[in-house]
């Protein structure tokens, strides 16, 4: 899982933006629309990053009154030191 986190956030083309998505979700669970707005990224781009993050077990989704919201997975929480190492290097 450690390796998966490194690869997903720092070893792929969309890694840095995925790291920003994960940081926003750690700050507060959000839905795709909110993420697009808060991170100033296109909705489709956000959808793609969420898909990759969820496929790789970095985030999980849950149903809320205002659509599907996303939050860091338990596995990501367990390796949060790794995530921190990456997040500290990514600009806002």
């Amino acid at each position: 899982m450690d390796t998966v986190l490194w690869q997903t956030l720092a070893g792929t083309r969309g890694g840095p933006n995925r790291a920003r998505v994960l940081r926003a979700l750690d700050d507060q669970p959000r839905n795709a629309n909110q993420l697009a707005e808060d991170l100033d990224l296109a909705y489709n781009t956000i959808r793609h990053h969420l898909e990759v993050l969820e496929e790789n077990g970095v985030i999980t989704s849950s149903d809320a009154s205002y659509g599907v919201i996303y939050l860091p997975s338990e596995r990501a929480q367990n390796h949060w030191d790794t995530v921190e190492q990456i997040l500290t290097q990514v600009d806002d």
């Binding site: 390796t3 490194w6 690869q7 956030l9 720092a10 070893g11 792929t12 083309r13 969309g14 890694g15 840095p16 790291a19 990759v52 190492q85 990456i86 290097q89 990514v90 600009d91």
Partner: protein, 94 residues
């Protein structure tokens, strides 16, 4: 015989292009996030690229009279590498 050699040449060339793309992505990411994982990937891909460059050079400068079996096996190795590197490129591009 020369067909097999052409296959090996094309495979080596594809590998060089794909690895160049991978290295570019990782270098770009490494500028932002200094992850050991990313640096290790760059080193790995660089040496694999060098291997393919040496292979390609050899495929264009091989002496006449190479044993056909050796040429066949080398071509198989090169094609297997293409599949592996293509898979890595796909997940890295996503």
């Amino acid at each position: 015989m020369s067909l097999v050699l052409d296959v090996a040449r094309i495979a080596a060339a594809i590998n060089i292009v794909l690895l160049g793309g991978l290295i570019a992505i990782w270098v770009q990411t490494y500028r932002e996030i200094r992850a050991p994982m990313t640096l290790g990937s760059i080193v790995f891909a660089t040496f694999l690229l060098a291997e393919n460059a040496v292979a390609l050079y050899f495929y264009f400068n091989a002496p006449a009279g190479m044993p056909p079996l050796a040429v066949d096996v080398m071509a198989v190795l090169q094609v297997l590498e293409v599949v592996g590197i293509a898979a890595l490129s796909y997940v890295t591009w996503k």
